[in-house]
């Protein structure tokens, strides 16, 4: 029998590998894909932002890779649906209003400069 700590450590390793996009051949990260396919469907779309936090994370990973993608996703989870409404515009999607906060609205201050170099 493996000790409890080792089992948890294996899970940690798997978790990190998933987050780091081992499934990079496909567009989305495995964890995000699993969340969107199996959890969000049951849980319902309760995200106040557009794109939703999972779509945002997926886009951030795709655009900036695992490290910045992970940081931006955590930042988005904290900001979701509160003070963002004061500075971002609203969009109507399927007759519902959402706060528009794409990845481009959070990386414009450094990514455009990098691109133009």
């Amino acid at each position: 029998m493996l000790p409890r700590n080792k089992i948890i450590a294996i899970f940690v390793l798997l978790f990190v590998l998933c987050l780091c996009g081992i499934s990079s051949a496909q567009d989305q990260n495995a964890v995000l894909r699993f969340y969107q396919k199996h959890i969000s469907v049951v849980d319902g779309n309760r995200c106040a932002m557009y794109p939703s936090c999972s779509s945002y994370a997926s886009r951030a990973f795709e655009k900036h890779g695992p490290i910045i993608g992970w940081i931006m996703s955590c930042d988005r989870l904290v900001r979701c649906g509160r003070d963002e409404a004061n500075i971002s515009r609203m969009v109507r999607v399927n007759d519902e209003e959402f706060i528009y906060d794409p990845v481009g609205a959070n990386d414009f201050w450094w990514f455009e400069k990098e691109k133009n170099k």
Partner: protein, 311 residues
């Protein structure tokens, strides 16, 4: 028998003659003017798809007509009005490349720039006008180009592009006194001054404040986010510490990993929030004081710029 055949023959001749005379009555010769007028009628009725076909028919059958250039321009305008901006830009480019010095070419430059603006390609929109600037001599057109370039930079300023406000004011300052009067540049320069002097948040300071979780958000006036960030980060740090203390090192590792993301996210979010705050200030000033819009008059095929100023 012979008389029967002759009756049939007479009948056939009569039928043929009547058919021929009927055909003659329906004959119509379409002149270049008629064809162009019909295409224009469709254009005015905003049936742009059909208008394009009729303008093309006009070009095909009357290639020597003096309205040929106008018809080519009208096709491009139809594409523009159909929001097929890439096709429209290509069609205007053909008119520009023909290099004729007339009013149509002049309009084509502005339309092409506007087509690029509509697809969000502000870079090309600028290049078109900057190229045109090198070709023109007359002051009025130059003023119009400067004004349009300033307008493009004001649009870019709304997207957070640095130096856009400076460039916009530079172009406005280049205009002649008569052009400045016509386009009310003093009001625009005042607007740019206001936008530049709007209350700002320093992104570096926001990042430094974020060393204490939530501090950066607090600095950026995002009080709810600051509170949640503080709770989440302190909670995760405490949990990691407790897990480690209880010799549950793997769990402490998981929590520490997650916490690292949220902590760095807090710093990133704080810096980003400062930039977003500054951008929101610029946009709100541009929105409150002026709304600049370009309009196309489909009947006159004219290009018009309008602005509203809130007193």
């Amino acid at each position: 028998m012979n008389s029967r055949y002759s009756y049939i023959l007479i009948l056939i001749i009569l039928v043929f003659l009547s058919h021929n005379s009927f055909a003659k009555e329906k004959q119509l010769i379409i002149t270049s003017g008629m064809q162009y007028a019909y295409a224009q009628k469709l254009f005015i009725q905003k049936d742009y798809d059909t208008a394009i076909i009729e303008f093309k028919r006009f070009i095909h059958f009357f290639p020597d007509s003096e309205d040929l250039d106008q018809a080519q321009f009208d096709i491009a305008v139809c594409l523009f009005n159909l929001k097929k901006y890439h096709d429209a830009a290509r069609a205007f480019n053909e008119i520009i490349l023909a290099g004729k010095e007339n009013e149509i070419t002049k309009k084509a430059f502005f339309y092409q720039s506007d087509a690029f603006m509509n697809v969000g390609n502000t870079g090309y929109a600028q290049i078109v006008l900057q190229n045109y600037l090198k070709l023109v001599e007359d002051l009025q057109t130059k003023d119009k180009i400067y004004f349009n370039l300033a307008k493009i930079h004001l649009t870019e300023a709304r997207k957070g592009k640095s130096d856009s406000l400076t460039l916009a004011s530079e172009y406005l300052s280049k205009m002649s006194p008569s052009g400045a009067d016509k386009y009310h540049t003093d009001q625009y320069l005042d607007l740019i001054f206001k936008a530049r002097n709007a209350p700002e948040k320093n992104p570096t300071a926001a990042g430094l404040f974020a060393i204490i979780p939530g501090g950066g958000f607090l600095y950026c006036e995002r009080y709810h986010d600051a509170f949640i960030t503080f709770l989440l980060n302190t909670g995760l740090i405490f949990s990691a510490y407790k897990a480690w203390d209880n010799d549950n090192k793997a769990l402490a590792g998981v929590i520490a990993f997650v916490e690292t993301g949220f902590y760095t996210g807090n710093i990133y979010g704080s810096i980003s929030s400062a930039h977003k705050y500054n951008l929101a200030q610029t946009i709100s000033i541009l929105d409150q004081d002026f709304s600049i819009s370009s309009k196309i008059d489909p009947e006159k095929r004219g290009y018009q710029l309008s602005f509203n100023y809130a007193f």
